[in-house]
Point group: C2
Chain length 218, copies 2
DNA sequence: AAATATTTTTAGACTAATCTAAAAATGTTT
DNA sequence: AAACATTTTTAGATTAGTCTAAAAATATTT
């Protein structure tokens, strides 16, 4: 049996190593998990014994195939629950994360596969992140970050990097949502702020916003 | 903060004391929780410190108002999730219990109240048990057990006492579900078995079945 | 009411996950 | 490459929940 805590560590390692392949160091996990490095060492030993991770002392960890499988399954569950919360239970995209953190640990294949069908097999969650299918395959979207978009081109908003409530509420208040059509009007060399037009408005966003918004050329 | 284990003990005490009022003894809790009496003693001390239970050594426990509030809230969540699983995710009534045991511990008022609304405020779960509303009020149904039904009368099936998969599958295979109309034809004095007619069939059920099926006169 | 049986509690130990503080290994500077 | 800084690991303690085995209280039988 895999514990809730083990699942959370595996998920953290997966995210920190962008897909479980790169090695991740102890301190990075500690700060992601809001715990101490010594606790991390204990846990990665355990994950290694259970064959979810490969670990050599002082050299960091990588996930094994098993570990990656566990991680992808949790991500699948997390994102499907997020879709459910937004589409069926009137949650806004800045409210879903915390609840989904708990729902993702419920263990029932029937539950998650029926939920998937009930939601009509969504491919992306409310933040634009891809939802792996039953076999763990992601649907990849070509996307670029607003900070690197071309002046004069038109894009569709397809995702965010920062999923914090603060950032998502900022987007809401500026009428930016997934699917919003954006034209890049001007990039200010002084501070890298960007002027853009939306359906009915023109706004200027700072560089830190521009770094967290993903677009797709249309 | 209340832990998952504490919640499960509180729920067990509530069920064993039929509404949290009667005192419950240690061994009863131990067997309900599949644990040892010594563990129960430790836990009820803790529940007592946290003011969820009243406890005097060797005298058993009762729930406090706080404890009852916690129990009713968990039962509300459990039963709402059961309705969701059956109505939206194609679970059958014998499959829902185990998953609901986990879902019931997810803590989010918004989640559960929106779920309630999404399901259109159901008053009873798939086994006929009443679902408490936001304030903790149950909708009581007048019901009698089949074993005590009158020969010659007609009833509607409104609930079960035993919610085990075995019993529910037995009912399925005999085409008995919530809402099924039943007429009691004969009660055999020798073994208390009961002959009854359903919509299109006539069957004989044993006393142990008759003790676990709830009816309402129509 | 004394003897016996049952129930409940205590005492002490175990596991999972965490912590602090110190030791060991690795990395970086000069 | 020696000195310093950082990162990682170890050692030992803590907490929640559990266990076994023995002691204490309560209940039942004769």
């Amino acid at each position: 049996m895999i514990t809730l805590t083990e699942e959370n560590y595996i998920k953290a390692i997966y995210h920190l190593s962008s897909n479980g392949e790169k090695t991740v160091n102890t301190n990075a996990i500690a700060s992601a998990m809001q715990t101490k490095a010594s606790s991390v060492t204990d846990m990665i030993k355990k994950l290694s014994e259970k064959n979810y991770a490969d670990y050599k002392k002082y050299q960091g960890v990588t996930l094994t195939d098993d570990g990656r499988r566990v991680a992808v399954n949790i991500i699948r569950k997390h994102r499907l629950w997020e879709v459910f919360l937004v589409e069926k239970l009137n949650f806004s995209w800045d409210e879903v994360h915390e609840v989904a953190e708990h729902l993702e640990h419920i263990k029932s294949d029937k539950l998650i596969n029926e939920l998937d069908a009930f939601l009509e097999f969504p491919t992306h969650d409310p933040h634009g992140d891809p939802i792996p299918d039953k076999e763990g395959n992601f649907k990849h979207i070509e996307k670029i970050v607003l900070a690197k978009a071309e002046v004069g081109s038109t894009y569709k908003c397809v995702g965010v990097d920062d999923t914090s409530s603060k950032f998502l509420k900022y987007l809401d208040s500026n009428h930016i949502a997934l699917g919003t059509i954006i034209t890049v009007k001007h990039k200010e060399p002084y501070d890298n702020s960007i002027k853009l037009t939306l359906e009915n408005s023109e706004i200027v966003v700072s560089q830190s916003v521009a770094k967290n918004l993903y677009l797709k050329k249309i």
